[in-house]
Each structure stands twice: as structure tokens, then as C-alpha cells.
Amino acid sequence: MITDLSIKNITDLAKQKIVPVSMLVEVCHTCNEKCIHCCLDKHDSKGLQLHQYEKLFDQMVEVGTLFVILTGGEPFTRPDFMEIVKSARERHLSVTIFTNGILLTKKIIQELKKLFIQEVHISLYSASSETHDEITKTKGSFKKSVRALKWLAGAGITTRIKCPLMNKNCDDVDDLKKITKELKVDVQFTSVITSKNNGDGSTQLLRMTESQTKIALADSKIDKHSFAPINFSDHPENCVPCDVVFNGGSIDPYGNVFACNQLRVCGGNILKKPLVEIWKNSSEFQKIRNIRLKDLNQCVGCDLFKYCVRCPGLALLEDGNILGCSTIAKNNAIARKELGVYPGQTHIFTERCK
């Protein structure tokens, strides 16, 4: 009656059945840091009210969600954030929290432990307090984030560092790796600084230089490598360019449901329509679900295809065409080709048989 399996088995089934098994919820856009690379263009939304999140979580249970990521802004700037976490856990939704950790206390961590949350991800941008605080524009933030990491790891909560690499901090990778070993936590690096959600590309100036990018992409801890290229171009009519709106999506602090927190195509608002209705009936989501590799004219036949990790959200945000070439993905693909490494992120292009 009971079978062991992996989380990937669940996400694969959810994709097949078109169930939002994993949802990201931005509970506010308010923040206590002022990170120079932040993708948010404004930080004024304090999020929905607790009873509205309770209703949302009920709807998530109904539509098949199992994993919920709670993020902000900085979610702990909400005085009632722990009530939101508790509300999700009472419905047996698995909760992961993205935070900078500044407002965490030992008492809060004990409560998180008792609530059996899945993971906490802390943003840490450097092993140097000077560099980290320069990026967050918040004096003393490094010390508080590291303190939170120590407390979380000490409490036995699965904890990860999230570190987007930019020209200011990419030389700190080795030192950050050392810190993760000392703290006994994992680290996830990302190599792309995105434009702001409103299309403001000023943050692109923070991106690594060409030579820095090459060094980063050569490191399999930063950019997962495959031994062989992923090749779906033999059957482009079945190949889905991204999993978004097949097995997950995101919700902003206003209640808008997006295909992904990167692909800002809105399917509706939960204050006006139930989540299940938005998920199933949104024409915008349906259009995205119908996109196949064959529709990406510039990708089919591109000699960089097998080196490319294309995000449709970035293609739309930064290059203006969800079906077009993503400049940042192309630049990284050129770097990978020169390095002779293939990307390991298979979720970008996956086969979908009909």
C-alpha cells in the first residue's frame, strides 16, 4: 500500500497531470535590506491578510499543491509571518522559507523546528562582511545572517545559502564554500543577475564580466554540468521549453498568480477568482503551455542549443519575446561552448509526449 519514491517522481507526475505541486508565494515586498541586485522595482506591498492566505492554502490543497516556498521581500518583516507558516503547515503543505535571516531569533527557530518546515534558504553574498554589507546596503547584515545560519544549522533545520554571483562577489566563491563547510550548510550559486521585474535593466551592470562568467561556469558547483548534451531537437513538436505552469507557479503580494516569479505573465488574481480556476482556465497560462521547441525559431537549428539554458521569463523580460533568443542565455552558452561543458539543467527543455 506504501511505496518509496523521490520528489522528482512527484514533480514529474504533476507535470504530466498539470498540477501546481510547487508554488512560490511572495508574502510581502517590504524588506529590511536594500540589495543592489534586487529584482523588485518597489518594496511597498505588505502582502495579503492572514485570513486570505488561509483561504489560499485551502485552495492550494484542493488544486494539488504539496510544496510551498514562502518569500518576500523579506517575509519576516511581517509581524504575522509565523502565523502564515503555521497556517500552511496545519494544512500539511511542505514549507520552505527564503529569508535574509536578519530577524530570526532562537525562539523563532525553535518554533520553525516544531512546525517541521522543510528548509530555510538564507541569502549570503560573500564570506566577507564588507562585501556582503556593500551588496545589501545594510551595515551589520552579514553578522546577523551568519548568526541565523549558525542557529538554524544548530537546530537541525535543513539550511542553504543562496548566493547570486555578480562582479562584486564572484571572487569570493572559494571562501563561501569554506564557510558552508564550517557551518554544515549547503550553498546554491546562481550565475545570472536578472533585470528588475518592471524591465529596468540597470542591474545588468552588476553581472560578471565575460572572463568572470567563464570561471564561474567552469565550476560544476555553480553551473551543473552534464557529460553529454541534452538533445531534444529531433522532435521539437513534443519538447516543452520550460516546466512553468505545468507543475508550478508563483503568487505576488497582491494575489496575482504568475507563470513563475521570473516569467511575469499573470493568469489572474486569487482575490477575484479561485486558484483552481486560474490554474485550469487562464488563457494566458494555456498559451504558455502550448509553446513547443518548434515555436522557438531562433533555437531550432542554433549551434549553441546544446550549451544553452534558456529562461523564457528572461527572454520576455530582457529581450521582449517569450519565443525569442535570450541574450544572457546565449552569452552563457558561448562561454560553455568555449569551455566544452554542457549544462545539466534538464528542466529547461523536457519532452512532453501527446
Binding site: 500500500m1 511505496t3 518509496d4 512527484i10 507526475l13 497531470k17 494539488g64 510544496f67 503543505l93 517541521f116
Partner: protein, 100 residues
């Protein structure tokens, strides 16, 4: 046990996709899938229905010898208890067990 009422453990995250329930155990990071019958039972463990009522629902819903179904459901409950996936609602819930 038949009059006992159970709740799912706090360490459990769960939902049902396409008729099959999935369980993610937050402390051990294990992932489990229940079959159709087990999922039917699992989804009725809500702190309201007692074991006897759930057995009755199973005998009404599934074809087969009622006494065999009763035995199978009872065995399944014993497995859920021994694996700490459920807890008697009447017991203190300081370690695990939400209200449903």
C-alpha cells in the same frame, strides 16, 4: 482501536494527485506514495471520523469480503501508527499531530 480517531502527524506533508496520495516526511526527507485504496483511507484521516467509520466507508466503496477489508484497513492503520504517520487525536500533540 475502532472507536479511535486519528490525525496526521506534524512531520507529514501530503496531498493527493490524480487519486494517489503522496507523503513527504519532513524529518527524514523520505517521500512515499500510497496506492488507490490506501489513499482513500488516508484522505479520511481528519480527526473527525473514527476507524470504524472509515472501515464502513471502505466496505461501501470497494468490492470484496467486508471482513477482509476490515482486517486490511486495521493492518494499514497499525502501519501508519508504527511509522508515526498518524497519532491518536486524544493523545497530547506536543511532538506531532495537527488538528486534522
Amino acid at each position: 482501536m475502532s472507536s479511535n480517531c486519528f490525525v496526521k502527524s506534524k512531520r507529514v506533508s501530503t496531498n493527493t494527485i490524480d487519486g494517489f496520495s503522496f507523503i513527504y516526511l519532513e524529518d527524514t526527507k523520505e517521500t512515499l506514495q500510497l496506492d488507490e485504496v490506501a489513499s482513500f483511507i488516508w484522505n479520511q484521516i481528519n480527526g473527525v471520523k473514527n476507524v470504524s467509520e472509515i472501515i464502513d466507508n471502505c466496505t461501501n466503496h470497494f468490492e470484496g469480503d467486508p471482513s477482509e477489508i476490515r482486517t486490511s484497513v486495521s493492518e494499514f492503520f497499525n502501519t501508519l501508527i508504527s511509522e508515526k504517520l498518524i497519532k491518536n487525536k486524544g493523545e497530547r500533540q506536543n511532538d506531532y499531530g495537527f488538528k486534522h
